[in-house]
């Protein structure tokens, strides 16, 4: 059990390589997401930022559906 309040979870075994694959994808999603959100907030043109963000999301979601479960995509 991780002794931090906000990280109160059930400890499980996991594959380090799978974790790092997903974390790499997450970095891509978060970076493109920040750009997309910034452009939306400042009311600039968002077409390209939106497409890049959509591609990043799609890659990550496909990996989740393959290595996890399609129901994990429901949040």
């Amino acid at each position: 059990m991780i002794p931090l309040y906000l990280f109160h979870v059930t400890a499980v075994e996991h594959s380090e390589s799978m974790l790092w694959t997903f974390l790499t994808c997450n970095v891509f999603v978060v970076s493109t997401g920040i750009v997309f959100i910034y452009k939306l907030f400042t009311q600039k043109k968002v077409r390209i930022a939106g497409i890049v963000f959509g591609v990043a999301l799609a890659i990550n979601y496909i990996l989740i559906a393959i290595f996890g479960d399609p129901f994990d995509l429901l949040g």
Partner: protein, 328 residues
Amino acid sequence: MKYYRLWVIAFLLKFIGSAWDASYHFKYLFEEYSIPHIVNTMGFALGGILLYKEWRHSTYLDGFSRNLITIGYGLFLIGIPLDFSYHIAYGIDLTTWSPTHFIYYIATDIMIFGVWRGYYLFTWYTVPTWKSLHTWFAMFLLECLLFPNMQQENGAISYDQYIHGRSIASKEILQLISDPASQIFGGIPEYVYPIYSVLMVGLLTVVTVRICRDFTIPFMGAVLYISLRFIGKAIFAAVNYPTSYVPMTIILIPLAFLLLKRTNWLAGLIGSLAYFLSLYAIHKFGILITPPLVLWELVPAALIGILVPVFNTIIKHQLLLKKSKQPA
């Protein structure tokens, strides 16, 4: 107006799905088809269709409100893979208070705020009253802000059942419990519950009054929220699902502002004191099963109750100063 009523249905589906999900995980660990998640996703999808319509042809929303809602959707979609990675690293989290779950709450808050802003501007020619959709949007925002507390409110009853040997949780959940007093309450300190409640309800009340210039909207929003929570509790009890304590005393916070007709420190103090002391009385005299509470928590709760309207006044003052510096 039908457009905004559809948004109310979308958020209502999200409300039902999330409340169901919170209750579900006090009984079961995993679900085969995630029915609560499907209900939640139906609300998300309906909102997505409404948002897509606005991107195609801007009709009911101004550009910035539409962008705010899109930011909420984008953030929610970012939250899903981050939550998945979090589960790979640490396993499933039995708490509403996990960092990745907060991405969902913040994203949904932004969505609701964006729709509410759009509705406010769309109905600019009318004075906001509690009989309008403002009450619904205030209620949804209140529900979303208070959602993490569901851990304590469900946990209180589940913990009581557990220590009295009457737990209705499944075997796989019970096998995971090694430290019930901490795990069932999501692993956060008990003082968080009253302080967080005062902060969120106070903040929503003050901001709503400031924008809508109406004291009844946050009050009626809280009445609606509590009523829906009671309906939910009755349904969950009928189907032998885990039920939760309904935080009915939060109503005293917007009521204090309504009665004093002021958003000042005194209304904040009276509201937070009334909220905490009534909750404490319910807890102390065993009238209902509430989340755990200790009397000293009254001090920080009252302090937060005072600070929220005080900060609101300071921010208003600064904005006025900035405005006066602008050339005529």
